[in-house]
């Protein structure tokens, strides 16, 4: 296909784009009405947002925002966005605008939920960062595999295995050993995935599902049969938060970004390193070539299979390490199926983030926020049943995957490569 056909002139929208624009515009308008009716007329007093913690060096004020006033403003903005989306669209910024719009809705919702009370925004965001950790690790694991042409549905299993190993090894040999052990077990599962998909050309989805079921069964069995009777083996040290000097003193940003535990910092490093490596190094160029067009890579002497093995195993190490967050990085003990679908949400974050580490962490933060919201709102006295709040992260996933983000073009040829 020549260029003239795949490209279309700037400013001209294809029917598919227009259709998506219309759907999005309707979503904006529905949200505008919803915000107006539910929050605008549903709020009576004001909500106080707390922006710093009692112990922080620099204290910033806690703004008090009238719920109904905010809702009217947000509703108007949404209505404007909807009209603009219908008529002209936002082009390449569509997803950004959507994120801002949804953020406004969330803000208005918070003001309504915290009506007449005070609510710690800093606590909410801090928790969101933490909850984004396993999702980001899952997403980066997924994109390392997918950039090289392997779909990794087994991330959920790798996270769970990492959590389990982290708990046991952490309890016996200490936290550092627990993290290394978790990564290695994730890597081991990835070897299985790679052998099945690259060597034996098993359907990639099936291979991943096999891993998920295998890990869920195995860890659940050992938990009930073994850990319950030996509680000492399920009592891992928890990585505490530590502040980074100077940076952690910045109001709001400091406590949210720079007063966290090693897993959150690890997430920053992971995203930075993989972004650079994928797009600026020899390894990255080869990885992407193998994913996009394996035969082209093969004909210039790149070892396609070796690259696939390498990347899938790295993906496994990342997912395994991320899994340790659930135990060593959070509660210190392992529970059955404690990942609760975070691996799959990670996959959604990868797609939402368009197979780019920075996109992945941004998407993971959206999910993390939804997750953290349900925890924090449980404390407030809202009329929404807690079961509904618990659905929030999954609901966001469905909305995102169901196409609000538009069609993304995966970076890869996922068919098993057959060397002739």
């Amino acid at each position: 296909m020549t260029a003239t056909l795949t490209q279309h002139a700037e400013g001209v929208r294809s029917p598919a784009e227009i259709r998506r624009s219309r759907v999005l515009a309707i979503v904006y308008l529905v949200l505008a009405v919803l915000v107006l009716v539910a929050f605008g007329f549903g709020s009576e007093g004001s909500a106080t947002f707390v922006l710093s913690r009692p112990g922080d060096a620099i204290q910033v004020g806690s703004p008090t925002i009238p719920g109904s006033g905010l809702a009217f403003v947000v509703s108007a903005v949404l209505a404007f966005l909807g009209a603009r989306q219908w008529m002209a669209g936002f082009g390449s910024r569509t997803n950004l605008v959507l994120a801002i719009g949804l953020g406004l809705v969330a803000f208005s919702f918070l003001a309504w939920a915290a009506d007449g009370a005070s609510f710690s925004l800093v606590g909410l965001l801090q928790e969101a960062m933490k909850r984004a950790v396993p999702i980001t690790f899952g997403a980066v694991s997924g994109l390392l595999c997918e950039r090289t042409g392997i779909i990794n549905i087994g991330i959920e299993g790798m996270l769970l295995a990492g959590a389990f190993t982290g708990a046991i090894v952490g309890s016996t040999l200490g936290a550092a050993a627990g993290m290394i052990g978790a990564a290695l077990v994730g890597g081991l599962l990835a070897v299985l995935l790679a052998v099945l998909t690259v060597k034996y050309r098993v359907d990639q989805i099936i291979a991943g599902v096999v891993i998920n079921i295998f890990v869920l069964g195995l860890t659940s069995f050992y938990t009930s049969q073994f850990l319950v009777e030996n509680p000492a083996l399920n009592n891992a040290p928890i990585m505490r938060a530590f502040g980074i000097p100077i940076l952690s003193d910045i109001p709001l940003i400091g406590p949210v970004l720079f007063d966290q535990n090693i897993f959150v910092y690890g997430m920053y490093v992971l995203v930075g390193v993989t972004s650079f490596a994928l797009f600026r190094t020899k390894w990255g160029l080869r990885t992407r070539a193998v994913g996009e067009k394996p035969r082209a890579a093969d004909t210039v002497g790149i070892h396609v299979f070796r690259m696939k093995y390498l990347n899938v195993i790295m993906g496994g190490l990342v997912a395994g390490f991320g899994g340790a967050y659930f135990t060593i990085g959070s509660v210190g003990r392992f529970d059955e199926n404690m990942t609760a679908g975070r691996g799959f949400i990670g996959l959604a974050a990868m797609i939402f983030g368009r197979w780019h580490p920075v996109g992945a962490i941004s998407a993971a933060l959206v999910f993390g926020l939804a997750d953290s919201l349900q925890v924090k709102l449980g404390i407030l006295d809202t009329p929404i049943p807690s079961e509904f709040l618990a659905m929030a992260p999954y609901l966001v996933t469905i909305v995102v995957v169901a196409g609000l983000v538009g069609r993304s073009r995966p970076p890869s040829d996922y068919t098993a490569y057959v060397k002739e």
Binding site: T4, L5, K293, V300
Partner: protein
């Protein structure tokens, strides 16, 4: 540098793809390897390039035996290959594609993309191969992509360059341009192996000609004395009639009428842009054009496989805009799709199953609930006989047949019933000369029996030979309409490249 292939033999299950092939080439000459599709040319070159390993025989460079475990070894030995289907990563830039596998780096494996750009510029200046190192491959026309492939090979310091069917995707003007490039390469002391099945090209550029048939070298020829018909006979193994015999067309009433048709492609761009034309009974209309100019989408829209964004399609006076494929089929339309393996056949199905694929739900093959396999089989045997499909039985899977015979199965299924409109896309792509002759004859028979025929082909010679009227598509539009008697390949080539 002197390259020799000695006694190369390669067997695949059931076939001997290469049978004790001997070839030699030196730098500074152009060797043409001529052979039909399936003669074993590509297999031979893949062995040379380290993609396959030979069962017997050896490769020598300057008298030394080589062992190529993979393309990396062949590249290191000074052999470069431009594949028929370009081996470029579509989303990478020119520079990224050129250096892939031998990337210039600074410390720690960090890509030195400036160095890569500079290398591309230097090679493109040296050999007059103008390309922008920062252009993304998928935005480039095929002719330029081919230059990128050549730069890629030169960047690896190849001494012997292998071109596998390099002209198949080019317009006549691009072909001329390409011949200038390989002449320049020859003058600079490179050796060229040029694989093709096009006789004219061979006579134009070759220093020496080797002809391959059924895996074996059956002869060589000197381009100064060889003739097209002589080469064709050597290639096919019997005298071939290179011309298509047909009488003057006598167009009658309109069968297909397309008005202002607009179709979008997968990515939302406009693939077919406001196209209007008619096809009448007893006439063959040929659509010429370089691949990717909207022909695929046009045919898919006409046969109900792709949504029509605007415009109308009228078949025999009835509006069939966005009708289902079955409605269109039932109105008497035969469709020979562009890709026989992907959309023409179910490869894992038997021939019988493939033959009734379009009519299994009707009497006499089914009573509405269960299939009448006996009836289906007798129909299959009738079609195999009538359309000369070479197969041991009607019950073997379609995947076992050769390309030419697979194509005959499709033609038999589509032409085996009374049709008023034939839409055939690339009807003879990649098949042997015997099957091409046969299919061309059948298409003309359909015309003479009163069908309206629409042919889409990227082979200019085929369009010229078959058509009564020619339309040229470029960038989604019909840019020219003419008749074979009133035009030349050169003129059509200009239209195909967008000149108007």
């Amino acid at each position: 540098m002197k390259l020799e292939l000695k006694g190369i033999t390669k067997r695949f299950p059931g076939v001997v793809a290469n049978d004790h092939v001997d070839l030699e080439i030196e730098t500074g000459e152009i060797l043409c390897l001529l052979g039909e599709n399936g003669a074993g040319k590509s297999t031979l070159m893949n062995i040379l390039y380290g993609l396959y390993s030979a069962d017997e025989g050896e490769i020598l460079i300057d008298g030394e035996v080589q062992h190529f475990a993979g393309p990396g070894d062949a590249i290191a030995a000074g052999i470069g290959m431009v594949h028929q289907h370009f081996m470029l990563v579509p989303v990478f830039t020119v520079a990224e594609n050129v250096v892939l596998g031998v990337e210039p780096t600074t410390t720690g494996g960090v890509l030195d993309i400036n160095e890569a750009r500079e290398d591309v510029r230097q090679i493109s200046n040296q050999y007059n191969l103008a390309v922008d190192p920062d252009a993304v491959i998928e935005d480039l026309p095929v002719g330029i992509q081919q230059r990128v492939e050549i730069i890629k090979v030169l960047f690896r310091d190849a001494e012997i360059l292998v071109f596998d069917e390099p002209t198949a995707v080019l317009t006549p003007q691009e072909v001329d341009e390409f011949f200038k490039i390989i002449d320049k390469l020859k003058d600079d002391g490179k050796g060229i192996i040029f694989i093709t099945h096009k006789l004219k090209e061979v006579l134009e550029v070759a220093d020496r000609i080797a002809v391959l048939r059924r895996g074996a070298v059956v002869g060589s020829a000197d381009p100064a004395t060889a003739t097209e018909s002589g080469l064709a006979e050597m290639m096919v193994g019997r005298p071939v009639d290179l011309k298509v015999d047909k009488s003057e067309a006598d167009p009658k009433d309109v069968v297909l009428s397309v008005k202002n048709l607009t179709v979008t492609n997968l990515f939302g761009g406009t693939a077919v842009d406001d196209v209007s034309f008619e096809v009448r009974r007893n006439e063959i209309v040929g659509i010429a054009g370089v691949q990717g100019n909207g022909q695929t989408e046009l045919v898919e829209a006409l046969t109900g496989l792709r949504e029509i964004a605007a415009g109308t399609v009228i078949i025999k006076g009835e509006d069939h805009t966005n009708s289902t494929p079955r409605q269109i089929h039932d109105s008497g339309v035969a469709h020979v799709p562009e890709d026989r393996q992907r959309s023409g056949l179910v490869l894992g199905f038997s021939l019988t199953e493939n033959f009734v694929l379009d009519s299994y739900y009707q009497k006499p093959f089914s009573d509405g609930i269960k299939m009448d396999w006996k009836r289906s089989r007798s129909e299959a045997e009738r079609l195999i006989e009538e359309f000369d499909v070479r197969t041991p039985s009607s019950e073997i899977p379609a995947s076992n047949l050769s390309g030419g015979n697979q194509q005959k199965v499709i033609v038999a299924r589509e032409f085996g019933r009374q049709v008023d409109l034939v839409i055939a896309s690339q009807p003879t792509r990649g098949i042997d000369v015997g099957s091409i002759e046969f299919i061309h004859e059948r298409i003309i028979e359909e015309r003479d029996a009163g069908a309206a025929v629409l042919i889409v082909s990227t082979e200019l010679d085929e369009v010229m030979a078959l058509s009564d009227r020619i339309l040229v598509m470029f960038d989604g539009k019909v840019v020219a309409e003419t008749k074979p008697s009133e035009t030349t390949n050169t003129e059509l080539g200009l239209y195909m490249a967008g000149a108007s």
